[in-house]
């Protein structure tokens, strides 16, 4: 029997309580307007949740990647409008690994998309960064941008003030900031050669892992709301949950949600232990994105017309599912990569690759 250790159980309990206490309709409505919730962020910082999995000696909260994974699943479940993944498992991870002090506040991280590049040049003892990024998550609300740039002798991790960048606000379907950012010889406040393990591939894997975990959480929320609704809503003189047609859909939804949770949490464990990260994270992103497609539509079907309104809570979760499945590579992109690798390895190692630790 392998149960969760006490430390992680306490983390899960306290994070769940914090999100449940603070994330309500009012906060989510305000975040739609403001792009995020600064007050929720303060609560999270007070509880030291953003820097879980970052070593304490680097200024983090300590813990393993699976601890951060547990928190991200809960953040997804409560559709928390804050850059939790970006601050911790992306930005602070790059900084800590590269020996750069982690600044306070919410952080954004980039590049998030394969096509985007930033270059770093040395100019009189300072690093200057130039480049154009599309749809950087949370750029305009972040206190600092942490960028993985191409320097003359390799990758550079740099921390810049977003106030020195040209930022064009954008948003994903759920209203979360996804901003275009232009850097024109922006001086880095801190920079260093990318530390061990910090590269574009790993950054993307960690981003995809984070979105998988958040989608698993948002699926849980959608399913919870759907089950509650089916228990309350009556039509034809019966609760709609008593109709087998609805029951069959809820069961299917349950499967999609459960497998999304298993895949996303497992992928975090594999990455944490240095296992086959491509297999694990690609699988998790593919499976959670598939689950997002199936689950969000079942949730809305069960809810009927009320579910598509701005007042009812379901859309906070479903809009995020539809946005997050595209970010850090959608299921088709990851499937092509994974399939290409499977075919290159060939049929004989396929099973042993799948069962390797």
């Amino acid at each position: 029997m392998t149960a969760l250790n006490d430390v992680r159980l306490m983390l899960i309990e306290s994070a769940t309580r914090l999100f449940a206490d603070h994330v309500d309709d009012k906060l989510l409505a305000a975040a739609k307007r403001d792009g995020w919730s600064a007050s929720l962020w303060q609560e999270l910082e007070r509880a030291e949740l953003p820097l879980v999995s970052i070593p304490e000696e680097a200024g983090g909260a300590g813990g393993a990647l699976s601890d951060a994974a547990a928190v991200l699943r809960i953040a997804g479940r409560y559709t928390a409008p804050v850059p939790l993944a970006e601050t911790g498992v992306l930005a602070a991870w790059m900084l800590a690994a590269s020996g750069i002090a982690i600044p306070g506040g919410a952080l954004a991280a980039g590049p998030a998309r394969d096509a985007d590049h930033v270059t770093a040049g040395h100019n009189g003892g300072r690093w200057e960064l130039s480049g154009t990024f599309a749809r950087v998550p949370w750029a305009r609300v972040a206190s600092r941008l942490v960028l993985l740039a191409e320097g003359p002798d390799g990758l550079i991790v740099a921390c810049v003030d977003p106030g020195r960048c040209r930022i064009t606000p954008g948003a994903n379907l759920a209203g979360e900031p996804r901003d275009d950012v232009v850097l024109d010889r922006v001086v880095a406040e801190a920079a260093a050669p990318a530390g061990p393990g910090v590269d574009r591939e790993t950054l993307k894997l960690r981003g995809a892992l984070a979105r998988s975990l958040m989608m698993a959480g948002a699926l849980e929320r959608s399913l919870e709301l759907s089950v509650q609704y089916a228990q309350q809503r009556a039509q034809f003189g019966r609760k709609i949950g008593q109709f087998q047609a609805i029951q069959q859909e809820l069961a299917r939804f349950g499967g999609e949600t459960a497998v999304a949770i298993a895949a996303a949490l497992s992928a975090a464990g594999v990455m944490e232990r240095g296992g086959d990260a491509l297999l694990a994270v690609a699988s998790a992103k593919i499976r959670t994105a598939d689950a997002a497609r199936e689950g969000a539509l079942i949730a809305h079907q069960v809810h009927g017309a009320i579910g598509v309104t701005n007042e009812y809570a379901l859309h906070h979760a479903t809009l995020r599912l539809w946005a997050w499945r595209e970010e850090f590579g959608n299921e088709a992109q990851w499937a092509m990569r994974l399939g290409a690798r499977t075919q290159q390895h060939g049929p004989d190692p396929f099973w042993s690759d799948l069962t390797a630790a």
């Binding site: 969760l4 159980l9 008593q242 690609a282 994974l338 060939g346």
Partner: protein, 396 residues
């Protein structure tokens, strides 16, 4: 809502299980090299010789107590053996029903006499069991069985008919769910489980050929068959409870999602090192879905693994993963079909059983057997109704 308290970051198999995996792989490789069996998909193959060789390695009833022929190994090791056998399409039909269902039922509910009589013989690969559940009028609605047993001196006289009884023509005995007292309002009461030896006087086994002409199903007629008291499983009247206590571990194993896996391997072989983008995407998606299902199944196995069985059957932990286990079965059976469609749509071929081409043969074998997995052991629709009720709680 799901997987409370399951640690997915700790699904590493312990070293003995990893070592065992290598042993099973080496065994199967040697079997294939020696031409001892031809892998087939669809109908699991019944091969008593193969079963005896597996038994000789200690891989049947491996979680059972030593005094009943077991090896007292943890369930995770059984998980490993099972998935390796499935990956190799090994012919396990002779022992799978007993290893997965009959044996554990006997351990939990059987008398010392029954355990001593059957378990060591099963573990030696010498005694094969079938399951007598369905009847002409009882498919999904198992509680409606009409086979009845009447009290006589020293035992029971059983009369009725069972159908879809796989391998009854080769098995030694089968579990019969029957009515031992009339339905007096509560239909779940008055049912009992008996072990009926298939060569007993009054038992007639007739084949029900499958649509491809193959024979694994049977109908079994019971005409006033005498069953001594000592072959009653558990308590008279408790049959329903015993039958429905199929455990999460038994419902969520690799059998539920891997029966078409070798077709995927052959598909990968045929597509070659650099197939087109469409094939890459399909293979990638199938890989991801299998990885995810396996992690879910493994998560349940690791969380529930009670170690070896105790003398009175496994002592289980209090974690309830019943819903998750049912979901593995539901999704797993549909995943198996996705492989079939991928193969037929990515490779131009016509399924033929009579071919030397393994991919074409596997396709033929899986296409015709595809309907079975979502019917056997409870249809998808019944399973989903149970899952939904668990999700909805007690909805009035």
């Amino acid at each position: 809502m799901f997987f409370e308290n399951v640690d997915f970051s700790a699904l590493d198999l312990p070293p003995p299980a990893l070592k065992l995996r290598e042993e099973v792989r080496a065994f199967l490789k040697a079997e294939v090299a020696a031409g001892s069996f031809t892998p087939h998909l669809g109908h699991a193959e019944f091969d008593a010789e193969f079963t005896r060789r597996v038994a000789a390695r200690g891989w049947i009833g491996m979680t059972w107590p030593r005094r009943y022929g077991g090896r007292e190994r943890p369930y995770l090791e059984r998980f490993v053996v099972t998935e390796e056998m499935l990956a190799a399409a090994a012919p396990c039909a002779a022992h799978w029903a007993a290893d997965r269902q009959t044996g554990p039922s006997l351990l939990r509910h059987g008398s010392d006499h029954l355990k001593e009589k059957y378990l060591p013989a099963i573990a030696r690969g010498e005694c094969y069991f079938a399951l007598g559940m369905s009847e002409p009028g009882s498919g999904s609605d198992l509680a409606s069985v009409r086979t009845r047993a009447e009290r006589v001196e020293g035992g029971w006289r059983v009369t009725g008919q069972k159908v879809w009884t796989s391998w009854a023509h080769k098995a030694h005995a089968f579990f019969v769910l029957c009515r031992t007292s009339p339905d007096a309002g509560n239909r779940h009461e008055g049912l009992s489980q008996l072990v009926v030896e298939l060569k007993s006087p009054g038992v007639t086994v007739r084949p029900i050929p499958f649509m491809d002409g193959r024979h694994s199903f049977n109908e079994v007629f019971l005409d006033n068959v005498f069953v001594p008291d000592e072959r009653v499983v558990g308590e008279i009247g408790q049959g329903w409870k015993q039958v429905t206590s199929e455990l999460a571990l038994e419902r969520s194993g690799p059998e539920r999602y891997m029966t078409t896996f070798p077709l995927l391997v052959e598909l990968i072989r045929r597509l070659g090192a650099a197939p087109d983008a469409r094939a890459q995407e399909v293979v990638g998606k199938l890989t991801a879905r299998l990885w995810a299902l396996r992690r879910m199944s493994l998560g349940i196995a690791v969380a529930l693994d009670p170690g070896a069985d105790s003398e009175s059957g496994a002592t289980r932990t209090s974690v309830d993963l019943g819903t998750e286990a049912a979901l593995v079965k539901d999704m797993g059976t549909f995943y198996e079909r996705e492989i079939i469609d991928a193969a037929r749509l990515l490779v131009e071929m016509e399924p033929t059983a009579a071919t030397l081409d393994r991919l074409e043969r596997y396709l033929a074998e899986t296409v015709v057997c595809a309907p079975i997995s979502t019917i056997r052991g409870g249809t998808t629709q019944v399973l989903r109704t149970l899952i939904a009720r668990r999700l909805l709680g007690t909805l009035k």
